[in-house]
Subunit: 220 residues, 2 copies
DNA sequence: TTGCAATTCAAACACTTGTATGAAACTATC
DNA sequence: GATAGTTTCATACAAGTGTTTGAATTGCAA
């Protein structure tokens, strides 16, 4: 089998470095140094830097999507085709939050890599990313089944806001800690998950009577 | 005064390009081409590329912060020291959303540049960014005055979520449009503002009884 | 006009990037 | 153990980056 030691060493090193420092300032030379392999190995095994990134993203994307869907599926079957909205939202944002926040040694390289990918949107990833929309559509479907009275538009907005809160909290966790002078405990991941899920649930279940009322109350 | 035509042409071109394409793939040569000036002009007038970016960011940061605070101040004075939470939130997220969404010709280069800066977090900007925390603290103060019964932690989380929804919606507007197949109308900016403000208000005013309840309902 | 400082310009520099090359080392099959 | 195919390696390459240089040009004061 030729022991693809080099190949997987490159993949692991690349994922770790990208997760830690972003795509912007990680060079092939950084990666091969971290992986203890020769510079040319990347092009030999993957063809190009972009193809390395693409493979990394595709692999992780499939894995985490399958993981999330499994959780969702289980919840829906347990509820006879309908899962409570909180459970759906928890399946959507829980894994990512748990993988990116909390005690350092419990964080998942994969989750952090995926967050980077969703943030920086480098060309090779942007080309593939449509896949994620189909994935989100499945969640939207489950949400619709869970809340048959809400309009599609409201469902999509709720989904959007849930992802917004989760991703932004991950991205800006340092700023929130600093702003709150440590009062917001981002190491208590389950509390963070609960907060995000709670607000997203409210967004999806509360009446929106006064939503459109004072259009420009504060417009100067 | 020597007619700083070149200087301001560079600033304008850089801001426009950065706003459109991000810091990642805009080179000095792109900027000077857009500004119709010589390549060396950037280093002559600003010292370095990083100092150009820093000046751009500082200028815009001061301006938009002053703008937002003016709106906030006015609202608080009109309410005798306390402004309704909706108005505060609207002052926080309204200008940015209006500047980045809506009809193309109404979008603001400044707002789009600031969003890029808050997303990509390039080194010269990261060094200055502490300033923004002080700015957010002022909003947190107003929110605390508006909702004296809420804990500081809840205030900070509400602030965090409001910014999360606004920024994420801007960043991922294209995806939301695609996901909802056009049903979510991101050109109707006032509707977007209303939705963000509405959810953030709920997050800040609703009781949080069940928040901490089912910690790992869906954990496999 | 003359002189001097500020500005512009074309060109080159030093450096980093991803990629390509061809020889060397290794591995497995006969 | 010789041989063919795979993998590794040091090195070079071409392109792009921000920056520097020193001469040309401009604008303004004496």
């Amino acid at each position: 089998m030729a022991s693809d030691h080099t190949r997987s060493a490159i993949l692991a090193a690349a994922e770790r470095l990208y997760a830690d420092r972003g795509f912007g300032d990680v060079t092939l030379r950084d990666i091969v140094a971290e992986a203890n392999v020769n510079l040319a190995a990347v092009n030999y095994h993957f063809g190009s830097k972009d193809e390395l990134i693409a493979e990394l993203f595709v692999t992780r994307s499939i894995a985490t999507n399958r993981e999330r869907l499994r959780e969702l599926k289980a919840a829906e079957e347990a509820g006879g085709g309908r899962a409570p909205i909180e459970v759906i939202l928890r399946a959507l944002v829980g894994p990512t939050l748990r993988g990116c926040l909390g005690p350092e040694n419990q964080r998942s390289t994969a989750a952090r890599f995926m967050i980077r990918a969703s943030i920086e949107s480098v060309p090779p990833i942007r080309r593939i990313k449509n896949r994620e929309i189909d994935h989100l559509r499945k969640f939207a479907g489950a949400m619709r089944r869970s809340l048959p009275d809400r309009s599609d538009v409201d469902i999509y907005w709720g989904l959007n806001f849930a992802l917004a809160m989760a991703h932004h909290t991950i991205r800006e966790s340092e700023r929130l800690t600093k702003l709150s002078e440590g009062q917001c405990d981002l190491d208590d991941v389950e509390d963070v998950v609960a907060r995000v899920v709670s607000v997203a649930t409210m967004a999806l279940t509360m009446a929106k009577a006064e939503t459109k009322a004072p259009s420009r109350l504060a417009a100067r």
